[in-house]
Subunit: 270 residues, 2 copies
């Protein structure tokens, strides 16, 4: 059997190279099978190129950095000027299509986009409403999403700038409205999920009428919660000591999984 990488592989080893990167543009796709038969494997790809790598140090673990592992989503909590209604949409596609379930505007971050800017863009695109990023309420980390990658979802509080008109996106949005908070927060679909129930409690804390009631903390706490709508769990990170105890149910020093809603938690402070 020929040595790894053939003649070139020998040259590279003499140059004390440990690994080789090969970036092939779409126009040079004919080189992909040649590289593959020379010991290269895929690394990552964008629309116009594929990156391949060849690790030369047989028997030693490959130390080349991995490709991207996560997609990042954003959602937006936007209240009208009166603070009694939430900006909500019904989607034309996805698992909630045709269910009549109201949800907050959400979407994936573009490459190079900041979280607040992404939340503002999604609200504008889906509903036509201009709103300004204030802060984050919570974020959720979960795995095995599209293409086996992980997903970070950031829920942002946005301040509405003009609540006088709605222009739902004709491609993505079936319905769009200012929905009474009491109706929105009591949707059975979400209350059946320990994860969503905790998110909705955190949203309640963000309402003007509840200002000052939440018990603040000086750290971002993690609470592992069951999804409810399907098997599995996800970590929710937030700043409410009260909801941490209520939904996580575990105090510092305890071990193992809880029998209740929460699966596990981190401590609330030093």
């Amino acid at each position: 059997m020929a040595p790894r990488g053939g003649k070139l592989g020998r040259t590279w080893r003499l140059q004390h190279r440990r690994g080789i990167w090969l970036k092939l543009p779409l126009a040079l796709a004919s080189h992909v099978p040649v590289a593959a038969s020379s010991g290269f494997v895929f690394h990552h790809a964008e629309q116009d190129y594929v990156m391949m790598t060849h690790w030369l140090e047989e028997g030693k673990p490959c130390t080349l950095p991995p490709g991207p592992t996560h997609q990042v989503g954003v959602g937006a909590l936007v209240l009208d000027k009166g603070g009694k209604n939430i900006l909500a949409v019904q989607e034309k596609s996805g698992p909630l299509r045709g269910t009549g379930v109201w949800k907050m505007p959400t979407g994936l971050l573009d490459v190079g986009e900041d979280i607040g800017a992404g939340a503002e863009r999604e609200v504008k695109e889906e509903t036509g409403v201009s709103a300004r990023f204030k802060h984050l309420i919570a974020f959720r980390h979960a795995h095995a999403f599209a293409f086996g990658k992980s997903d970070l979802f950031f829920l942002a509080r946005l301040e509405v700038e003009d609540d006088s008109s709605l222009q739902p996106c004709p491609h993505e949005i079936a319905a769009c409205d200012w929905v009474p908070l009491s109706l929105f927060l009591s949707q059975p679909r979400f209350l059946a999920s320990p994860l969503y129930a905790c998110v909705y409690d955190l949203c309640r804390d963000a309402l003007p009428e509840n200002e000052g009631k939440a018990r603040p903390v000086t750290a971002i706490m993690g609470t592992q919660l069951k999804l409810g709508f399907k098997p599995g769990a996800a970590w929710l990170y937030h700043t409410s000591e009260w909801h941490h105890k209520k939904h996580g149910g575990k105090s510092e020093g305890e071990d193992g999984l809880e029998e209740g809603k929460g699966l596990g938690t981190t401590s609330g402070g030093d």
Copy 2:
């Protein structure tokens, strides 16, 4: 010119398909140039396959979901049992190699790994120390990292379980020690960076001696800070109203960029 996708493209269009996914394993790399010449482009890749896509609705924007856009890093603040020294390393490679600069253990999340678990693993791998995830201190979002992707970095507070021995990783770590906090936090390399200066202030808040002194908030706030060590800025998300004001310097309702350290901020609460 032949229609997009040739005969197959016509068949797919008759079936009202809007886009086609083609997953080619490494062993079928010879099909890559065939697909490319039929109108397919790259989408993403893992070591053993490349995913290609073909959007059939000419003139309409492609609505196929994008591939992963982010890598996720974790760092760990670990104090010894006495609370006076921080677990610090000097790396064998990277921009700080040979500089004598002490840093907290850091690394990239593996696919499917939770943030706390990743921080615990990196501490164990780099220093041999067992420590348990408590909570997050802050996280940083920045762009144009490896392969043009974005980067989310989570700084976690870990509780040490045994501080009696250190076993630095021979491959990655040049030095590893319990470094006095006063020395660690006063390293000029980091204080020259508005971003790091804010991170270090947040670390100080996490010390046992400062317990209860930080002014807590009920939201995760974002502060946009200059990097300092190179051009550009990043968003730092945390829970300290005081550092938000100190480093961000902007109160709610103000617009535009600050002249001081901070570039922009989000508000501290509803």
